[in-house]
Symmetry: C2
């Protein structure tokens, strides 16, 4: 059945698990494409260029903005982040679905350009204590960054009512299974199956 792809956005306060869930999704469903953001921030230890982010210079970032090569972009703690347009613009009409891990601001910007092709999932931590523990466990971040992120977390969390689906991330495997069910269901949405009218016409004729 001919089908239009969708862009599934995962948002959550930092450390609630959205990046782990996004990786789990593309590992389990090979039809899903992971959107890799561009950023001007330096790589953290263990991060790979082209996999975790495309690490680019400020000059290249500004060029991408000027050329309309980013679907959304933002300044977070003094570093710039953006979502490249080309991979998504190619995937959706070809019936490929894309997963992106974005904050509420990026999601709002995307909603204006992607509209009906957007599926918005918000991930909540099971408790504030769990969120703090996960941020501490990410040893790459300085204590000052952790404090800033905890403060930011309340603001990010306040945007959950703007999302289509909400998952409380108690067990990572259960959360991944939940998002995979959302992906499977969204593929069955009438509006995404562009071949249905033709199929029903042939049903009457054969």
């Amino acid at each position: 059945m001919a089908r239009r792809g969708f862009l599934l956005v995962l948002s959550s306060p930092s450390g609630a698990g959205k990046t782990t869930i996004a990786r789990g999704l593309v590992a389990r469903d090979r039809q899903l494409l992971l959107s890799v953001s561009v950023t001007t921030r330096p790589p953290r230890p263990g991060e790979t260029d082209g996999l975790d982010y495309h690490f680019i210079t400020r000059a290249r970032f500004e060029e991408m903005v000027a050329q309309g090569e980013l679907l959304e972009h933002a300044n977070v703690f003094g570093h710039f982040y953006g979502t490249p347009k080309t991979p998504i613009a190619e995937a959706l009409p070809a019936g490929r679905d894309v997963v992106a891990d974005l904050d509420w601001q990026g999601t709002q910007q995307l909603a204006r350009v992607v509209a009906d092709d957007l599926v918005k999932v918000f991930i909540l931590p099971p408790s504030r204590a769990a969120l703090f523990e996960r941020l501490k466990a990410r040893a790459q971040d300085s204590a000052a960054t952790i404090a800033k992120r905890m403060a930011q977390s309340a603001e990010e969390t306040s945007h959950w009512p703007e999302y289509d689906y909400v998952i409380v991330n108690r067990l990572i495997a259960t959360s991944i299974a939940g998002v995979l069910a959302i992906v499977a269901a969204e593929r069955l949405r009438r509006g995404r199956q562009t071949g249905l009218a033709d199929f029903v016409r042939r049903l009457g004729a054969d």
Copy 2:
């Protein structure tokens, strides 16, 4: 998480498999309740009262209509059918989801009374030939009834654009898995999780 239940309606032309799918769903997900319709038609061989239908008299049916005990009702080939209100009215506020197997007219009537709690799934046969074979295989039906149902099938099929999800029933197991994914996804919809605002409030406080 406190949650409001939903009513999942399956519609399809006769013989496309909606009844088999509905049975498969409640066998695999014990949280799902099957809505058992009332009917004035006589039982077919092998049908059990209270399981396949509640077989009732015309007088009782008219009483139920008069008392507002049916969410929807219709006359199909001279027999009356209806969906009892009480099991659904009790299940949804308690967070139980209900599956009902209905035609497009019943679905339209339900949409007026259940509104946001309704999830509409349309099942299409893989081909017209397959539909005819399945109708013939149901030996209970007379040749005249089969002919009438084939004619009716085109009309029922024309209502697919009114549904949220559409599944082409090629393999029954795949179709059941598809509807189970829809059920899992709909349970994660923000609007159905009535406990979320309280949960997020506690997240800020603990």
